[in-house]
């Protein structure tokens, strides 16, 4: 166990996987020589360690990068490719949605695609809408793709290693705002299982589900709520597909209330699926309406005063919890 930044933990996972297995290679725009010369960046130093055969800088060609991953994984390699910003996944989406997600099914189970796509995401650094747009609901909505979103340093390593050695295509979303966050992380090969949520804080009155950076927004809402006599159980979802329904339903059946928090647009966001799932499967355990906390239906603005309107804050979570409590 040692202290690492979130970015170092990802780097550690990549390095561990490449040490263990020669079929693992990484590719993307600047995964070798990056414009960011920063030890906290996930692929820092890997070119020096593993060389140009296994660390492939690509042209600015998201369709080709994703096609590389699909074709190479079909041939038995374990590609780990990077999409520089989440909105650019639209350029790779044909290869991911129509090919990575469908070709196994259409082959009748004969072909497999054990690929990993690392996607850098996040809102909060004033880059504006074409560099900041969380599209996890798009991925989750597409059959044949898994998607995970770590929020802790340990899971940044453990989920990525699980994704790399998973037999199916997995999209791993990395919140860029977390890259410099420090935390405990084992040095060994650790695996966070896909499809297992984590109770980040136990509680009795209201379940709050979040993932990625939004987890910390949810955690910041706990204290002011305790002051009002309300105990929240916070669930770190970790994995959107597969979804840990058991963990969610157990918690909701205990607390009787649910608030979902994410930074993506609320409208048709992943929170809508969670709300609907709980309404279908635990309706009679609910004591109040399910509440969703997310961004308004606007592109991400640049000015920090406007960006704050976009990103949900702890006060929004507090308000949603009070509303579902009828207070």
């Amino acid at each position: 166990m040692s202290q690492k930044t979130f970015g170092n933990a990802i780097n550690d996972a990549l390095s561990t996987a490449m040490d263990m297995d020669d079929t693992v290679f990484i590719a993307g725009e600047g995964v070798g020589v990056s414009i960011h010369h920063d030890p906290n960046m996930p692929t820092y130093g890997l070119l020096d360690k593993f060389g140009r055969r296994r660390v492939k800088d690509t042209p600015v060609s998201e369709a080709a990068i994703a096609g590389l991953a699909v074709g190479a994984s079909c041939m038995g390699l374990r590609p780990v490719v990077e999409i520089m910003f989440f909105p650019f996944i639209t350029l790779a989406s044909d290869m991911l949605v129509n090919h990575a997600g469908k070709l196994r099914y259409m082959s009748g189970g004969k072909s497999s695609f054990p690929l990993t796509v690392r996607v850098k995401a996040g809102v909060g650094f004033g880059a504006g809408s074409q560099h900041s747009h969380n599209l996890e609901a798009w991925i989750a909505h597409s059959p044949g793709l898994k998607i995970v979103w770590p929020s802790t340093v340990e899971d940044a390593k453990g989920l990525l290693l699980s994704a790399i050695f998973d037999p199916d295509p997995v999209i791993v979303v990395e919140d860029m705002m977390l890259y410099r966050m420090k935390g405990e992380c084992p040095d060994a090969d650790i695996r966070t299982p896909l499809g297992k949520a984590r109770v980040a804080a136990p509680g009795t009155d209201c379940t709050v589900i979040a993932y990625g950076l939004a987890l910390y927004t949810a955690m910041k809402a706990i204290e002011p709520l305790i002051e009002k006599g309300i105990s929240c159980e916070v669930i770190d979802l970790r994995s959107l597909v597969p979804l840990d329904k058991t963990c969610i339903l157990e918690s909701v059946r205990k607390t009787g209330r649910l608030v979902v928090v994410h930074e993506a647009n609320r409208f048709c966001g992943f929170g809508a699926e969670l709300a609907a799932m709980v309404a279908e499967e635990a309706f009679y355990d609910l004591k109040g309406p399910v509440k969703r906390v997310g961004a308004p239906q606007i592109p991400v603005p640049v000015a920090s005063s406007l960006e704050k309107v976009f990103i949900p804050g702890p006060e929004d979570v507090v308000r949603a919890v009070l509303e579902t409590m009828g207070k």
Partner: protein, 328 residues
Amino acid sequence: MKEKQLTSDFQVRLFTRMVLIRTFEEKIVALCRESYQLPGMQILANGQEAVATGVVSALEPDDIIVSNHRSHGHLLARGADLNSLMAEIMAKADGVNHGKAGTLHLSVPEINAPMTSTVVGAGPPLAVGAAFAQQYQALNGVTVVFFGDGAAAEGSVHEAMNLSGIWKLPILFVCENNGWAGAQRFEEHSAARQIHKRAQGYDMPGQSVDGNDVEAVYHLSLELLEHCRSGKGPAFMETMTYRMRGHGEQDHQHYVNPEELEAWALKCPIIRYRRALLNAGILDKNKIQRIEQDAEARVAAAVAFGDASPYPESDTAMTDVFVQAFNS
């Protein structure tokens, strides 16, 4: 290593393969016309048999092919099992993909055709991945990707050509220029009159060939594949041919000048090669008749196999999404 000097046995094999492909696809035409229930869009490559046969006959066993919505010829030339291919086209349980692919998405890993895409222009990025795997693992194989002149307008094709040019990947790009993209003529959808000249922009050799001349296609394939195998990187071949049927059997080509179709019918690669082999004394009418009857019999047996196969059980709709199933 393939012979550059063709033996008469090999020439007969080329002819036999083209006849089999044509017979197979003519049977699909007939099944579509009858009250027969053939699902989906049956998109055929009648008239393009010389490309499939010429290119695939030049391949070595380890080479990979990535095909598209017009894949029957490529797969049959590569040696796909006739019965399970026909059963899949009929969407039956004993089909090569158990009824999940149908005519458009046939993938046959057992003959090194593990990926087929009907998304126009999507094959080349997939081929980049397959060829990268061959290069990365120091395998000897080449990846061959088939796409049309219509697909050449897609940005993904350019991205794939650029990346494979930079990394010197062993890919043979085979553009089957059949003159049509949907209902748009080549002249209407392509600024460039010669697609193969784009190869120069991506640092690879690009050549054009008469796509209705099976031996010419074979010889150029050997030459370009040799380039790919030698580590010099990708190559590009444009085969000039013609789409004799529409974009699916429901497309009756109202936008095509009938005289143009008739003119191309006279350039039929099979008729042309039959004449050449007859003139050379390599085939005679009896042998040709035997080849045609054999093809008819094999295709009839495949249809009988497909007919006898049940439709897949409905619960199999839920399998093969992931390697290990889970409920979400």
